[in-house]
Symmetry: C2
Subunit: 299 residues, 2 copies
Protein backbone atom coordinates (compact mmCIF):
# COMPACT_ATOMS: atom_id res chain seq x y z
CA UNK A 1 0.00 0.00 0.00
CA UNK A 2 1.01 3.56 -0.61
CA UNK A 3 1.70 6.00 2.19
CA UNK A 4 -0.94 8.70 1.99
CA UNK A 5 -1.31 12.01 3.78
CA UNK A 6 -4.15 14.44 3.33
CA UNK A 7 -3.60 18.18 3.53
CA UNK A 8 -6.50 20.63 3.96
CA UNK A 9 -5.12 24.17 3.88
CA UNK A 10 -7.47 27.11 4.51
CA UNK A 11 -6.90 30.41 2.69
CA UNK A 12 -8.29 33.87 3.47
CA UNK A 13 -9.89 34.31 0.07
CA UNK A 14 -13.39 33.14 -0.78
CA UNK A 15 -14.51 35.63 -3.39
CA UNK A 16 -11.90 35.94 -6.15
CA UNK A 17 -12.07 32.61 -7.96
CA UNK A 18 -8.96 33.38 -10.03
CA UNK A 19 -6.85 33.65 -6.90
CA UNK A 20 -8.16 30.39 -5.45
CA UNK A 21 -7.67 28.60 -8.78
CA UNK A 22 -4.11 29.87 -9.01
CA UNK A 23 -3.39 28.50 -5.52
CA UNK A 24 -5.01 25.11 -6.26
CA UNK A 25 -3.12 24.90 -9.56
CA UNK A 26 0.21 24.99 -7.73
CA UNK A 27 -0.85 21.82 -5.87
CA UNK A 28 -2.16 20.18 -9.07
CA UNK A 29 1.22 20.84 -10.68
CA UNK A 30 3.00 18.56 -8.20
CA UNK A 31 3.27 15.08 -9.65
CA UNK A 32 1.71 12.42 -7.43
CA UNK A 33 -0.55 14.92 -5.65
CA UNK A 34 -4.29 14.76 -6.27
CA UNK A 35 -6.54 17.72 -5.51
CA UNK A 36 -9.82 16.18 -4.29
CA UNK A 37 -11.79 19.27 -3.51
CA UNK A 38 -11.75 23.08 -3.69
CA UNK A 39 -14.42 24.96 -1.72
CA UNK A 40 -14.97 28.72 -1.63
CA UNK A 41 -17.22 30.53 0.82
CA UNK A 42 -18.00 34.18 0.05
CA UNK A 43 -19.50 35.00 3.47
CA UNK A 44 -16.55 33.57 5.32
CA UNK A 45 -14.31 34.92 2.54
CA UNK A 46 -12.34 31.74 2.82
CA UNK A 47 -11.29 28.78 0.64
CA UNK A 48 -10.49 25.21 1.64
CA UNK A 49 -8.42 22.99 -0.66
CA UNK A 50 -8.12 19.26 -0.06
CA UNK A 51 -5.31 17.26 -1.60
CA UNK A 52 -3.62 13.91 -1.00
CA UNK A 53 -0.48 12.02 -1.90
CA UNK A 54 2.72 10.67 -0.41
CA UNK A 55 3.98 12.72 2.54
CA UNK A 56 6.95 14.42 0.87
CA UNK A 57 4.94 15.32 -2.22
CA UNK A 58 2.07 16.69 -0.18
CA UNK A 59 4.57 18.85 1.68
CA UNK A 60 5.90 20.21 -1.61
CA UNK A 61 2.34 21.02 -2.71
CA UNK A 62 1.53 22.65 0.64
CA UNK A 63 4.59 24.87 0.36
CA UNK A 64 3.70 25.83 -3.21
CA UNK A 65 0.13 26.76 -2.19
CA UNK A 66 1.44 28.81 0.72
CA UNK A 67 3.93 30.68 -1.46
CA UNK A 68 1.24 31.50 -4.01
CA UNK A 69 -1.21 32.68 -1.33
CA UNK A 70 1.45 34.90 0.28
CA UNK A 71 2.01 36.40 -3.16
CA UNK A 72 -1.66 37.00 -4.03
CA UNK A 73 -3.53 37.68 -0.79
CA UNK A 74 -3.30 40.88 1.24
CA UNK A 75 -4.93 40.41 4.63
CA UNK A 76 -5.19 44.19 5.09
CA UNK A 77 -7.88 44.06 2.38
CA UNK A 78 -9.62 40.99 3.86
CA UNK A 79 -13.03 41.15 5.50
CA UNK A 80 -15.03 38.05 6.31
CA UNK A 81 -16.93 36.29 9.07
CA UNK A 82 -14.37 33.60 9.75
CA UNK A 83 -11.53 34.32 12.22
CA UNK A 84 -8.07 34.27 10.60
CA UNK A 85 -4.47 35.26 11.25
CA UNK A 86 -2.96 34.59 7.84
CA UNK A 87 -3.34 34.63 4.07
CA UNK A 88 -2.61 30.93 4.42
CA UNK A 89 -4.51 30.65 7.64
CA UNK A 90 -4.24 26.99 8.65
CA UNK A 91 -2.43 23.97 7.17
CA UNK A 92 -3.41 20.65 8.78
CA UNK A 93 -1.85 17.34 7.80
CA UNK A 94 -4.03 14.27 8.25
CA UNK A 95 -2.75 10.67 8.33
CA UNK A 96 -4.75 8.51 5.90
CA UNK A 97 -2.92 5.30 5.17
CA UNK A 98 0.40 3.75 6.22
CA UNK A 99 1.24 7.01 7.95
CA UNK A 100 1.18 7.79 11.69
CA UNK A 101 0.12 10.95 13.46
CA UNK A 102 3.73 11.37 14.45
CA UNK A 103 4.77 11.33 10.75
CA UNK A 104 2.29 14.16 10.21
CA UNK A 105 3.69 16.10 13.17
CA UNK A 106 7.15 15.83 11.60
CA UNK A 107 5.74 16.99 8.29
CA UNK A 108 4.07 19.99 9.96
CA UNK A 109 7.27 21.03 11.73
CA UNK A 110 9.43 20.61 8.69
CA UNK A 111 7.00 22.61 6.51
CA UNK A 112 6.87 25.25 9.27
CA UNK A 113 10.63 25.70 9.19
CA UNK A 114 10.60 25.95 5.42
CA UNK A 115 7.76 28.48 5.22
CA UNK A 116 9.21 30.70 7.93
CA UNK A 117 12.68 30.64 6.37
CA UNK A 118 11.73 31.07 2.73
CA UNK A 119 8.56 33.16 2.89
CA UNK A 120 9.47 35.15 5.99
CA UNK A 121 6.11 34.37 7.62
CA UNK A 122 5.97 33.44 11.34
CA UNK A 123 4.62 29.92 11.97
CA UNK A 124 2.59 28.55 14.90
CA UNK A 125 2.19 24.81 15.44
CA UNK A 126 -1.22 23.52 16.62
CA UNK A 127 -3.17 20.36 17.62
CA UNK A 128 -0.98 17.25 17.58
CA UNK A 129 2.00 19.31 16.38
CA UNK A 130 1.67 21.91 19.17
CA UNK A 131 4.74 22.65 21.30
CA UNK A 132 2.69 24.10 24.16
CA UNK A 133 -0.51 22.55 25.51
CA UNK A 134 -2.58 25.71 25.00
CA UNK A 135 -1.69 25.72 21.31
CA UNK A 136 -3.48 22.42 20.74
CA UNK A 137 -6.55 24.62 20.50
CA UNK A 138 -6.62 26.47 17.19
CA UNK A 139 -8.98 29.15 18.53
CA UNK A 140 -6.39 30.12 21.15
CA UNK A 141 -3.59 30.33 18.59
CA UNK A 142 -5.79 32.57 16.44
CA UNK A 143 -6.91 34.81 19.33
CA UNK A 144 -7.04 38.50 18.38
CA UNK A 145 -6.76 37.58 14.71
CA UNK A 146 -4.45 39.25 12.20
CA UNK A 147 -5.14 42.72 13.55
CA UNK A 148 -4.67 41.84 17.22
CA UNK A 149 -1.76 39.45 16.83
CA UNK A 150 0.28 42.11 15.02
CA UNK A 151 1.01 43.85 18.32
CA UNK A 152 0.95 40.79 20.63
CA UNK A 153 3.51 38.78 18.67
CA UNK A 154 6.13 41.47 19.35
CA UNK A 155 5.38 42.18 22.97
CA UNK A 156 3.94 39.02 24.56
CA UNK A 157 6.36 36.08 24.89
CA UNK A 158 3.32 33.78 25.23
CA UNK A 159 2.45 34.59 21.63
CA UNK A 160 5.94 34.07 20.16
CA UNK A 161 5.80 31.92 17.03
CA UNK A 162 7.36 28.44 16.83
CA UNK A 163 9.37 29.37 13.76
CA UNK A 164 10.33 32.61 12.03
CA UNK A 165 10.28 36.29 12.93
CA UNK A 166 8.48 37.68 15.98
CA UNK A 167 6.70 39.97 13.61
CA UNK A 168 3.73 39.34 11.33
CA UNK A 169 4.30 39.35 7.59
CA UNK A 170 2.91 42.78 6.50
CA UNK A 171 0.35 41.30 4.06
CA UNK A 172 0.27 37.55 4.82
CA UNK A 173 0.21 37.63 8.63
CA UNK A 174 1.12 34.28 10.18
CA UNK A 175 0.39 30.65 9.36
CA UNK A 176 -0.80 27.95 11.71
CA UNK A 177 0.41 24.45 10.81
CA UNK A 178 -0.55 21.22 12.48
CA UNK A 179 -1.51 17.57 12.39
CA UNK A 180 -4.91 16.17 13.23
CA UNK A 181 -7.28 13.27 12.65
CA UNK A 182 -9.72 13.50 9.73
CA UNK A 183 -12.77 15.58 10.54
CA UNK A 184 -16.21 14.07 10.00
CA UNK A 185 -19.19 16.36 9.40
CA UNK A 186 -22.11 14.34 10.74
CA UNK A 187 -25.69 15.53 11.23
CA UNK A 188 -28.51 13.73 12.97
CA UNK A 189 -32.12 14.63 12.14
CA UNK A 190 -34.76 14.54 14.86
CA UNK A 191 -38.45 14.02 14.18
CA UNK A 192 -39.73 17.16 15.86
CA UNK A 193 -40.34 20.78 14.94
CA UNK A 194 -38.99 21.93 18.31
CA UNK A 195 -35.64 23.62 17.66
CA UNK A 196 -34.92 23.90 21.38
CA UNK A 197 -34.63 20.09 21.57
CA UNK A 198 -31.93 20.06 18.86
CA UNK A 199 -30.13 22.90 20.64
CA UNK A 200 -30.35 21.18 24.02
CA UNK A 201 -29.08 17.86 22.68
CA UNK A 202 -26.25 19.62 20.81
CA UNK A 203 -25.26 21.28 24.07
CA UNK A 204 -25.47 17.98 25.95
CA UNK A 205 -23.18 16.10 23.56
CA UNK A 206 -20.55 18.71 22.70
CA UNK A 207 -17.19 18.82 24.42
CA UNK A 208 -17.34 22.54 25.15
CA UNK A 209 -20.23 22.05 27.54
CA UNK A 210 -18.99 18.90 29.22
CA UNK A 211 -20.27 16.37 26.68
CA UNK A 212 -18.26 14.03 24.47
CA UNK A 213 -14.62 14.76 23.81
CA UNK A 214 -13.79 15.80 20.21
CA UNK A 215 -17.40 16.66 19.39
CA UNK A 216 -18.58 20.09 18.27
CA UNK A 217 -22.34 20.44 17.91
CA UNK A 218 -25.04 22.98 17.15
CA UNK A 219 -28.82 22.72 16.84
CA UNK A 220 -30.40 23.90 13.60
CA UNK A 221 -33.72 24.05 11.82
CA UNK A 222 -33.95 22.20 8.51
CA UNK A 223 -36.01 22.81 5.39
CA UNK A 224 -38.13 19.74 6.20
CA UNK A 225 -41.25 20.17 8.24
CA UNK A 226 -41.04 18.80 11.78
CA UNK A 227 -37.38 17.94 11.42
CA UNK A 228 -34.61 19.69 13.36
CA UNK A 229 -30.96 18.82 13.25
CA UNK A 230 -28.03 18.25 15.57
CA UNK A 231 -25.18 19.31 13.29
CA UNK A 232 -21.77 18.05 14.39
CA UNK A 233 -18.08 18.00 13.64
CA UNK A 234 -16.32 14.91 14.96
CA UNK A 235 -12.69 15.88 15.14
CA UNK A 236 -11.26 12.58 16.36
CA UNK A 237 -13.33 9.55 15.36
CA UNK A 238 -10.73 7.15 16.75
CA UNK A 239 -11.18 8.45 20.30
CA UNK A 240 -14.87 9.30 19.96
CA UNK A 241 -16.35 7.02 17.29
CA UNK A 242 -19.39 7.92 15.19
CA UNK A 243 -21.46 5.20 16.87
CA UNK A 244 -20.74 6.60 20.33
CA UNK A 245 -22.00 9.99 19.14
CA UNK A 246 -25.06 8.44 17.49
CA UNK A 247 -25.93 6.44 20.60
CA UNK A 248 -25.51 9.52 22.83
CA UNK A 249 -27.81 11.60 20.64
CA UNK A 250 -30.31 8.74 20.52
CA UNK A 251 -30.30 8.38 24.25
CA UNK A 252 -31.01 12.10 24.73
CA UNK A 253 -33.67 12.02 22.00
CA UNK A 254 -35.30 9.08 23.79
CA UNK A 255 -35.61 11.20 26.91
CA UNK A 256 -37.47 13.84 24.92
CA UNK A 257 -39.58 11.11 23.33
CA UNK A 258 -38.33 12.23 19.92
CA UNK A 259 -37.27 9.77 17.19
CA UNK A 260 -34.10 9.93 15.08
CA UNK A 261 -35.44 10.08 11.54
CA UNK A 262 -32.08 9.81 9.82
CA UNK A 263 -28.55 11.10 9.67
CA UNK A 264 -26.18 12.41 7.05
CA UNK A 265 -22.49 12.48 6.37
CA UNK A 266 -21.45 15.76 4.73
CA UNK A 267 -18.45 15.38 2.47
CA UNK A 268 -15.91 12.65 3.07
CA UNK A 269 -15.65 10.03 5.81
CA UNK A 270 -12.76 7.62 6.41
CA UNK A 271 -13.58 3.98 5.77
CA UNK A 272 -12.34 3.08 9.25
CA UNK A 273 -15.05 5.21 10.84
CA UNK A 274 -17.75 3.13 9.13
CA UNK A 275 -16.02 -0.20 9.73
CA UNK A 276 -15.62 0.68 13.44
CA UNK A 277 -19.35 1.34 13.66
CA UNK A 278 -20.26 -1.90 11.87
CA UNK A 279 -17.99 -3.84 14.26
CA UNK A 280 -19.64 -2.17 17.22
CA UNK A 281 -23.26 -2.74 16.26
CA UNK A 282 -22.68 -6.27 14.97
CA UNK A 283 -20.65 -7.00 18.15
CA UNK A 284 -17.84 -8.50 16.06
CA UNK A 285 -14.97 -9.77 18.20
CA UNK A 286 -11.38 -10.50 17.24
CA UNK A 287 -11.73 -8.77 13.90
CA UNK A 288 -8.70 -7.60 11.96
CA UNK A 289 -8.74 -5.16 9.06
CA UNK A 290 -6.85 -7.79 7.08
CA UNK A 291 -10.12 -9.77 6.91
CA UNK A 292 -11.66 -7.13 4.69
CA UNK A 293 -11.36 -8.52 1.19
CA UNK A 294 -10.48 -5.17 -0.39
CA UNK A 295 -7.75 -4.50 2.21
CA UNK A 296 -6.20 -7.83 1.39
CA UNK A 297 -6.28 -6.96 -2.30
CA UNK A 298 -4.52 -3.66 -1.68
CA UNK A 299 -1.80 -5.13 0.52
CA UNK B 1 -10.05 1.17 -10.43
CA UNK B 2 -9.11 -2.25 -11.62
CA UNK B 3 -11.65 -4.89 -12.60
CA UNK B 4 -11.32 -7.70 -10.09
CA UNK B 5 -12.81 -11.18 -9.97
CA UNK B 6 -12.28 -13.71 -7.21
CA UNK B 7 -12.10 -17.42 -7.96
CA UNK B 8 -12.43 -20.03 -5.21
CA UNK B 9 -11.94 -23.49 -6.76
CA UNK B 10 -12.39 -26.58 -4.57
CA UNK B 11 -10.25 -29.66 -5.21
CA UNK B 12 -10.74 -33.24 -4.04
CA UNK B 13 -7.40 -33.47 -2.31
CA UNK B 14 -6.83 -32.43 1.28
CA UNK B 15 -4.04 -34.73 2.41
CA UNK B 16 -1.14 -34.62 -0.07
CA UNK B 17 0.34 -31.14 0.36
CA UNK B 18 2.60 -31.57 -2.68
CA UNK B 19 -0.39 -32.01 -4.95
CA UNK B 20 -2.20 -28.98 -3.57
CA UNK B 21 0.97 -26.88 -3.80
CA UNK B 22 1.47 -27.93 -7.41
CA UNK B 23 -2.09 -26.83 -8.22
CA UNK B 24 -1.77 -23.50 -6.40
CA UNK B 25 1.58 -22.88 -8.11
CA UNK B 26 -0.07 -22.95 -11.53
CA UNK B 27 -2.27 -20.05 -10.43
CA UNK B 28 0.69 -18.20 -8.87
CA UNK B 29 2.51 -18.52 -12.20
CA UNK B 30 -0.09 -16.38 -13.98
CA UNK B 31 1.04 -12.76 -14.02
CA UNK B 32 -1.49 -10.42 -12.46
CA UNK B 33 -3.12 -13.17 -10.41
CA UNK B 34 -2.70 -13.17 -6.63
CA UNK B 35 -3.27 -16.29 -4.57
CA UNK B 36 -4.78 -15.03 -1.29
CA UNK B 37 -5.35 -18.29 0.50
CA UNK B 38 -4.81 -22.06 0.28
CA UNK B 39 -6.71 -24.23 2.75
CA UNK B 40 -6.45 -28.02 3.12
CA UNK B 41 -8.83 -30.15 5.16
CA UNK B 42 -7.77 -33.77 5.78
CA UNK B 43 -11.15 -34.97 7.07
CA UNK B 44 -13.00 -33.56 4.11
CA UNK B 45 -10.00 -34.53 1.95
CA UNK B 46 -10.48 -31.29 0.14
CA UNK B 47 -8.57 -28.10 -0.67
CA UNK B 48 -9.85 -24.59 -1.35
CA UNK B 49 -7.69 -22.08 -3.19
CA UNK B 50 -8.63 -18.38 -3.34
CA UNK B 51 -7.16 -16.12 -5.96
CA UNK B 52 -7.99 -12.74 -7.50
CA UNK B 53 -7.13 -10.62 -10.51
CA UNK B 54 -8.59 -9.25 -13.71
CA UNK B 55 -11.27 -11.49 -15.24
CA UNK B 56 -9.31 -12.88 -18.19
CA UNK B 57 -6.25 -13.59 -16.07
CA UNK B 58 -8.29 -15.29 -13.38
CA UNK B 59 -9.81 -17.49 -16.06
CA UNK B 60 -6.34 -18.47 -17.30
CA UNK B 61 -5.35 -19.36 -13.72
CA UNK B 62 -8.56 -21.34 -13.16
CA UNK B 63 -7.94 -23.36 -16.31
CA UNK B 64 -4.32 -24.03 -15.28
CA UNK B 65 -5.41 -25.24 -11.83
CA UNK B 66 -8.06 -27.49 -13.37
CA UNK B 67 -5.59 -29.01 -15.84
CA UNK B 68 -3.09 -29.73 -13.05
CA UNK B 69 -5.77 -31.27 -10.82
CA UNK B 70 -7.03 -33.48 -13.64
CA UNK B 71 -3.45 -34.63 -14.11
CA UNK B 72 -2.68 -35.32 -10.43
CA UNK B 73 -5.93 -36.40 -8.75
CA UNK B 74 -7.63 -39.77 -9.24
CA UNK B 75 -11.12 -39.70 -7.78
CA UNK B 76 -11.22 -43.51 -7.72
CA UNK B 77 -8.67 -43.24 -4.88
CA UNK B 78 -10.50 -40.45 -3.08
CA UNK B 79 -12.26 -40.93 0.24
CA UNK B 80 -13.48 -38.02 2.34
CA UNK B 81 -16.49 -36.64 4.17
CA UNK B 82 -17.30 -33.90 1.72
CA UNK B 83 -19.56 -34.67 -1.26
CA UNK B 84 -17.79 -34.31 -4.62
CA UNK B 85 -18.16 -35.15 -8.30
CA UNK B 86 -14.78 -34.09 -9.60
CA UNK B 87 -11.03 -33.79 -9.06
CA UNK B 88 -11.71 -30.09 -9.62
CA UNK B 89 -15.03 -30.22 -7.88
CA UNK B 90 -16.37 -26.66 -7.99
CA UNK B 91 -15.11 -23.44 -9.58
CA UNK B 92 -17.08 -20.34 -8.52
CA UNK B 93 -16.33 -16.86 -9.87
CA UNK B 94 -17.19 -13.97 -7.58
CA UNK B 95 -17.53 -10.31 -8.71
CA UNK B 96 -15.40 -8.06 -6.49
CA UNK B 97 -14.89 -4.69 -8.09
CA UNK B 98 -15.92 -3.09 -11.39
CA UNK B 99 -17.29 -6.44 -12.49
CA UNK B 100 -20.94 -7.55 -12.66
CA UNK B 101 -22.46 -10.91 -11.84
CA UNK B 102 -23.25 -11.23 -15.53
CA UNK B 103 -19.54 -10.81 -16.35
CA UNK B 104 -18.84 -13.70 -13.98
CA UNK B 105 -21.53 -15.84 -15.63
CA UNK B 106 -19.85 -15.24 -19.00
CA UNK B 107 -16.52 -16.18 -17.47
CA UNK B 108 -17.97 -19.41 -16.04
CA UNK B 109 -19.47 -20.44 -19.38
CA UNK B 110 -16.38 -19.62 -21.35
CA UNK B 111 -14.17 -21.54 -18.90
CA UNK B 112 -16.65 -24.43 -19.05
CA UNK B 113 -16.35 -24.68 -22.81
CA UNK B 114 -12.58 -24.57 -22.60
CA UNK B 115 -12.28 -27.22 -19.87
CA UNK B 116 -14.69 -29.60 -21.57
CA UNK B 117 -12.99 -29.23 -24.95
CA UNK B 118 -9.37 -29.35 -23.85
CA UNK B 119 -9.47 -31.61 -20.79
CA UNK B 120 -12.33 -33.85 -21.93
CA UNK B 121 -14.18 -33.38 -18.64
CA UNK B 122 -17.97 -32.78 -18.61
CA UNK B 123 -18.98 -29.42 -17.14
CA UNK B 124 -22.12 -28.44 -15.20
CA UNK B 125 -23.03 -24.78 -14.65
CA UNK B 126 -24.48 -23.76 -11.25
CA UNK B 127 -25.86 -20.83 -9.22
CA UNK B 128 -26.03 -17.59 -11.24
CA UNK B 129 -24.50 -19.40 -14.26
CA UNK B 130 -27.05 -22.27 -14.19
CA UNK B 131 -28.95 -23.04 -17.40
CA UNK B 132 -31.74 -24.86 -15.55
CA UNK B 133 -33.40 -23.60 -12.36
CA UNK B 134 -32.68 -26.78 -10.39
CA UNK B 135 -28.96 -26.43 -11.10
CA UNK B 136 -28.80 -23.18 -9.16
CA UNK B 137 -28.50 -25.50 -6.17
CA UNK B 138 -25.03 -27.04 -6.01
CA UNK B 139 -26.22 -29.95 -3.86
CA UNK B 140 -28.59 -31.04 -6.62
CA UNK B 141 -25.90 -30.86 -9.29
CA UNK B 142 -23.63 -33.00 -7.10
CA UNK B 143 -26.33 -35.56 -6.22
CA UNK B 144 -25.06 -39.17 -6.25
CA UNK B 145 -21.49 -37.90 -6.28
CA UNK B 146 -18.72 -39.21 -8.55
CA UNK B 147 -19.75 -42.81 -8.08
CA UNK B 148 -23.47 -42.27 -8.71
CA UNK B 149 -23.19 -39.71 -11.47
CA UNK B 150 -21.04 -42.10 -13.56
CA UNK B 151 -24.13 -44.05 -14.50
CA UNK B 152 -26.71 -41.26 -14.42
CA UNK B 153 -24.85 -38.93 -16.78
CA UNK B 154 -25.14 -41.54 -19.54
CA UNK B 155 -28.72 -42.61 -19.02
CA UNK B 156 -30.67 -39.69 -17.51
CA UNK B 157 -31.15 -36.64 -19.79
CA UNK B 158 -31.85 -34.56 -16.67
CA UNK B 159 -28.23 -35.09 -15.66
CA UNK B 160 -26.68 -34.23 -19.04
CA UNK B 161 -23.76 -31.81 -18.67
CA UNK B 162 -23.83 -28.26 -20.06
CA UNK B 163 -20.59 -28.81 -21.94
CA UNK B 164 -18.51 -31.82 -22.97
CA UNK B 165 -19.05 -35.56 -23.14
CA UNK B 166 -22.03 -37.32 -21.56
CA UNK B 167 -19.56 -39.50 -19.78
CA UNK B 168 -17.48 -38.79 -16.68
CA UNK B 169 -13.74 -38.42 -17.06
CA UNK B 170 -12.40 -41.80 -15.77
CA UNK B 171 -10.23 -40.25 -13.02
CA UNK B 172 -11.34 -36.59 -12.83
CA UNK B 173 -15.13 -37.01 -12.95
CA UNK B 174 -16.95 -33.77 -13.76
CA UNK B 175 -16.51 -30.13 -12.83
CA UNK B 176 -19.17 -27.70 -11.62
CA UNK B 177 -18.56 -24.10 -12.63
CA UNK B 178 -20.57 -21.07 -11.61
CA UNK B 179 -20.88 -17.49 -10.48
CA UNK B 180 -22.00 -16.34 -7.06
CA UNK B 181 -21.83 -13.50 -4.57
CA UNK B 182 -19.04 -13.58 -1.99
CA UNK B 183 -19.82 -15.89 0.90
CA UNK B 184 -19.56 -14.54 4.43
CA UNK B 185 -18.93 -16.97 7.28
CA UNK B 186 -20.55 -15.26 10.26
CA UNK B 187 -21.11 -16.72 13.72
CA UNK B 188 -23.11 -15.25 16.57
CA UNK B 189 -22.38 -16.31 20.14
CA UNK B 190 -25.20 -16.61 22.65
CA UNK B 191 -24.71 -16.29 26.39
CA UNK B 192 -26.21 -19.62 27.41
CA UNK B 193 -25.06 -23.20 27.82
CA UNK B 194 -28.27 -24.48 26.25
CA UNK B 195 -27.36 -25.91 22.83
CA UNK B 196 -31.01 -26.39 21.92
CA UNK B 197 -31.48 -22.61 21.86
CA UNK B 198 -28.67 -22.19 19.30
CA UNK B 199 -30.14 -25.02 17.24
CA UNK B 200 -33.65 -23.56 17.39
CA UNK B 201 -32.50 -20.09 16.40
CA UNK B 202 -30.39 -21.53 13.56
CA UNK B 203 -33.47 -23.33 12.33
CA UNK B 204 -35.60 -20.20 12.64
CA UNK B 205 -33.25 -18.00 10.58
CA UNK B 206 -32.09 -20.38 7.85
CA UNK B 207 -33.65 -20.37 4.38
CA UNK B 208 -34.09 -24.15 4.29
CA UNK B 209 -36.64 -24.02 7.09
CA UNK B 210 -38.49 -20.91 5.95
CA UNK B 211 -36.21 -18.30 7.51
CA UNK B 212 -34.08 -15.70 5.77
CA UNK B 213 -33.19 -16.11 2.12
CA UNK B 214 -29.51 -16.84 1.40
CA UNK B 215 -28.78 -17.88 4.99
CA UNK B 216 -27.46 -21.28 6.00
CA UNK B 217 -27.25 -21.88 9.75
CA UNK B 218 -26.40 -24.53 12.32
CA UNK B 219 -26.32 -24.49 16.11
CA UNK B 220 -23.04 -25.55 17.78
CA UNK B 221 -21.42 -25.80 21.17
CA UNK B 222 -18.27 -23.71 21.68
CA UNK B 223 -15.22 -24.26 23.85
CA UNK B 224 -16.34 -21.39 26.10
CA UNK B 225 -18.46 -22.16 29.10
CA UNK B 226 -22.08 -21.04 28.79
CA UNK B 227 -21.62 -19.93 25.22
CA UNK B 228 -23.32 -21.62 22.27
CA UNK B 229 -23.13 -20.51 18.68
CA UNK B 230 -25.35 -19.90 15.68
CA UNK B 231 -22.88 -20.60 12.88
CA UNK B 232 -23.89 -19.20 9.51
CA UNK B 233 -22.99 -18.85 5.87
CA UNK B 234 -24.45 -15.76 4.25
CA UNK B 235 -24.40 -16.50 0.55
CA UNK B 236 -25.79 -13.21 -0.74
CA UNK B 237 -25.13 -10.27 1.58
CA UNK B 238 -26.56 -7.80 -0.94
CA UNK B 239 -30.01 -9.37 -0.74
CA UNK B 240 -29.80 -10.43 2.89
CA UNK B 241 -27.38 -8.05 4.64
CA UNK B 242 -25.37 -8.99 7.71
CA UNK B 243 -27.32 -6.55 9.89
CA UNK B 244 -30.62 -8.14 8.91
CA UNK B 245 -29.24 -11.51 10.01
CA UNK B 246 -27.85 -10.06 13.23
CA UNK B 247 -31.14 -8.34 14.08
CA UNK B 248 -33.10 -11.54 13.36
CA UNK B 249 -30.88 -13.62 15.63
CA UNK B 250 -31.06 -10.93 18.32
CA UNK B 251 -34.81 -10.82 18.14
CA UNK B 252 -35.04 -14.61 18.58
CA UNK B 253 -32.46 -14.52 21.37
CA UNK B 254 -34.50 -11.82 23.11
CA UNK B 255 -37.48 -14.17 23.13
CA UNK B 256 -35.39 -16.79 24.93
CA UNK B 257 -34.10 -14.08 27.28
CA UNK B 258 -30.57 -14.90 26.13
CA UNK B 259 -27.97 -12.18 25.35
CA UNK B 260 -25.75 -12.00 22.27
CA UNK B 261 -22.27 -12.00 23.78
CA UNK B 262 -20.43 -11.37 20.52
CA UNK B 263 -20.03 -12.40 16.92
CA UNK B 264 -17.20 -13.34 14.61
CA UNK B 265 -16.35 -13.13 10.94
CA UNK B 266 -14.43 -16.21 9.81
CA UNK B 267 -12.08 -15.46 6.93
CA UNK B 268 -12.78 -12.61 4.55
CA UNK B 269 -15.68 -10.18 4.32
CA UNK B 270 -16.34 -7.64 1.56
CA UNK B 271 -16.02 -4.03 2.65
CA UNK B 272 -19.50 -3.28 1.29
CA UNK B 273 -21.03 -5.69 3.79
CA UNK B 274 -19.61 -3.69 6.70
CA UNK B 275 -20.37 -0.30 5.16
CA UNK B 276 -23.98 -1.39 4.52
CA UNK B 277 -24.33 -2.33 8.19
CA UNK B 278 -22.81 0.95 9.40
CA UNK B 279 -25.22 2.88 7.16
CA UNK B 280 -28.14 0.91 8.54
CA UNK B 281 -27.38 1.28 12.24
CA UNK B 282 -26.31 4.93 11.96
CA UNK B 283 -29.43 5.59 9.84
CA UNK B 284 -27.35 7.41 7.24
CA UNK B 285 -29.43 8.76 4.36
CA UNK B 286 -28.35 9.81 0.88
CA UNK B 287 -24.93 8.27 1.27
CA UNK B 288 -22.77 7.48 -1.73
CA UNK B 289 -19.72 5.23 -1.71
CA UNK B 290 -17.85 8.12 -3.32
CA UNK B 291 -17.95 9.85 0.09
CA UNK B 292 -15.63 7.26 1.54
CA UNK B 293 -12.23 8.90 1.53
CA UNK B 294 -10.40 5.75 0.47
CA UNK B 295 -12.81 5.12 -2.43
CA UNK B 296 -12.16 8.61 -3.68
CA UNK B 297 -8.42 7.96 -3.47
CA UNK B 298 -8.74 4.78 -5.52
CA UNK B 299 -10.88 6.36 -8.24
Amino acid sequence: MTRIVECVPNFSEGRRKKVVDAIADTARAVEGVRVLDVEMDATHNRAVITFVGEPEKVKVAAFACAAKAVELIDLNQHVGEHPRVGAVDVIPFVPISEVTMSDCVQLARSLGEEISAQLNVPVYLYEAAATRPERQNLAKVRKGQFEGLREEIRTNPERAPDFGPSELHPTAGAVVIGAREPLIAYNINLGTGDLSIAKNIAKAVREKDGGLKHVKALGFETDRENVVQVSMNLVNFRETPVHVVFDAVRSHADEYGVPIVGSEVVGLIPEDALVDSAEHYLKIEGFSRGQILEYKLRE
